[in-house]
Amino acid sequence: MQYGPAAFNTAKVILMLRFLLKRLGLAALVALTVSLISFSLLFLAGDPAVALAGEAATEEDIEAIRTQYGFDRPIPVQYVAWLTGAFTGDFGNSYYFNTPVIDLISDRLPTTMQLGLAGITFALLLAVPLGVIAAIRPNSLIDRFALFISVVGQAMPTFWFSLILIVIFAVNMGWVPVSGSGTWQHFILPTIVLGYFATPGIMRLTRAGMLEVLRADYIRTARAKGLNPAKVLFKHALRNAAIPVVGLAAVQLGFMLGGSIVIESIFALNGAGLLAFESINRNDFPVVQALILLFSLIYVLLTLLADLLNAWLDPRIRVA
């Protein structure tokens, strides 16, 4: 097992850098494609001048807005203009708030990030121990229980689970607040809901990885040598099985950030997900457009991070 500081050498660093550059280029290309797709989709649907003008607008108001915002220009021209701005962090102004999109998002992204990190932590704390135990004792009661938890997690709709938790723990028991983001207690229920849905995948992967590693020669050797079983388990087996889990967790975090829309709107958490949902309802295209791009970027960067981690930790992966 040659990982960690021992494996640190110049050749590997150079290889990693090349890998990094290549993947960064790919990430940029992916983000560009996503932005092109979402831009075309949003503009297929017609012009947003009505949404901008508000409920009591007259025909003249709408016409004026159409020219003012440049909706009368050809779509490719509008896309290039948008993209040029996006490079400098200028995503235009929100139609609804009439303030820079970037300010709105940077106001609300931290809440979503907090929720996402809390969710993934919860998922790891629940899934990894269960997965390990399930692997040590396959087909035992705990294995079955772990399996049950994971299948339930896949089968229960998020919003349904959220409502049930609110009814029981917030309204009836009064243990936690119903909604808002004022204190850490406000994050308890949403964290459980968001984290729970990442649990099945992580648990299955931990279990599979552990099973595989436990069958591997060096573990058998270590055991045959009479090493402390707990030490074998944690120092060797878990460490190796953890590599793909870390990758999956990063990817799941990416999904979570893009998928917290339902949870944020139920728990009135003022994050980027809720902003996305409300912006969709308000036909506030610049915000929706920027958020789609942002979530894609986060996802791409997290997978890149996961790949880098894997490449660095696992000598079996050829980084060239």
Binding site: L26, L29, V30, A31, T33, V34, I37, S38, L41, L42, L44, A45, N139, L147, V151, V152, Q154, A155, M156, P157, T158, F159, W160, L163, V167, V171, R204, L205, R207, A208, L211, G254, F255, L257, G258, G259, I261, V262, S265, A276, F277, I280, N281, N283, V288, L291, I292, F295, S296, L297, Y299, V300, T303
Partner: protein
């Protein structure tokens, strides 16, 4: 989801016999398949079973409770906010939810399998391009994009199925690509190539049958995924159009009375849960039964 350990089978019957034997001893497969079969039967026979017209409203008969909460057998599962029979809507709702699952899986299956098999079979530049498309697709936030599109084009069964179908093909592509790569260099494929068979023919007669088991597993997973996503869209007010009784829409319509008549979301919620549970059990079962070595 294996309950038995297939390594114990020591006789050497044909692969088909082996599979059948494994299937018959696999509880997850049996239960999942059985329950799903039952739900499909319910959906198909809904017109015969349903005690009432699922669309017939009676505003004077609203929020009647189910029989087990003190209601009458006239409406065994009670009535909804427009006085429509809940049992009838649940039965017909099975049709809608299953249709969403099947059709979405069909669309995404065709897209994903085509891409995946092409990438796996041809490799090289084709593979690079397909991998790029997959990465692009994976990086798009599904719920957000689906919501935006449905909000713009209006929710309807067709829009929802199309949107989900065009979004949920990634797993098909990923798995079909890997599976095809694994068998591309097998003897029977290379010999077919040597015999001068056309590529289409090789893919259809040699490749497809050998990746079918994996395909079935992904189909079940994506069916479940689509049904859940439709429910989420409906919950956010952007799913199928009323009066179609999809289970997701029933939950969405019942949620207003969450604190007063919880049966309205509990009943379709449990139905949805059981359906997804069964589909997932079946999917795991198919994997265990057809390829026990891939179990994880």
């Amino acid at each position: 989801m294996t309950i038995i350990d297939s390594n114990e089978i020591t006789t050497a019957p044909s692969p088909a016999q082996q599979m059948r034997r494994r299937a018959l001893r696999h509880w997850g497969f049996l239960i999942g398949g059985g329950v799903l079969g039952l739900i499909i039967l319910m959906a198909v026979l809904a017109p015969f079973f349903a005690p009432h017209d699922p669309y017939a409203q009676d505003l004077s008969q609203r929020f009647l409770r189910p029989v087990f909460l003190g209601g009458s057998w006239e409406h065994p599962l009670g009535t909804d906010h427009l006085g429509r029979d809940y049992l009838s809507r649940l039965l017909f709702g099975a049709q809608i939810s299953l249709t969403i699952g099947f059709v979405t899986a069909l669309i995404s299956g065709v897209i994903g399998t085509t891409l995946g098999v092409a990438a796996g079979y041809f490799g090289g530049r084709v593979d690079t391009i397909v991998m790029f498309i997959i990465t692009v697709r994976l990086s798009m936030p599904v719920v957000l994009v689906a919501l935006a599109v449905v909000a713009l084009f209006g929710g309807s069964l067709t829009t929802v199925v199309l949107v989900l179908g065009f979004l949920l093909w990634d797993q098909f592509a990923v798995v079909m690509r890997t599976s095809t790569q694994q068998i591309r260099n097998q003897d029977y494929v290379t010999s077919a190539q040597a015999l001068g068979c056309t590529t289409t023919r090789i893919i259809l007669t040699e490749v497809m049958p050998n990746i079918l088991n994996n395909l079935i597993v992904i189909i079940t997973l994506e069916m479940a995924h689509a049904i859940i996503l439709e429910a989420a869209l409906s919950f956010l007010g952007l799913g199928v159009q009323p009066p179609l009784p999809s289970w997701g829409l029933m939950i969405a319509e019942g949620k207003d009375m969450l604190f007063f008549e919880p049966f309205l979301i509990t009943i379709p919620g449990i139905a949805l849960f059981v359906l997804i549970f069964a589909i997932n059990l079946l999917g795991d079962g198919v994997r265990d039964v057809t390829a026990p070595e891939n179990r994880n």
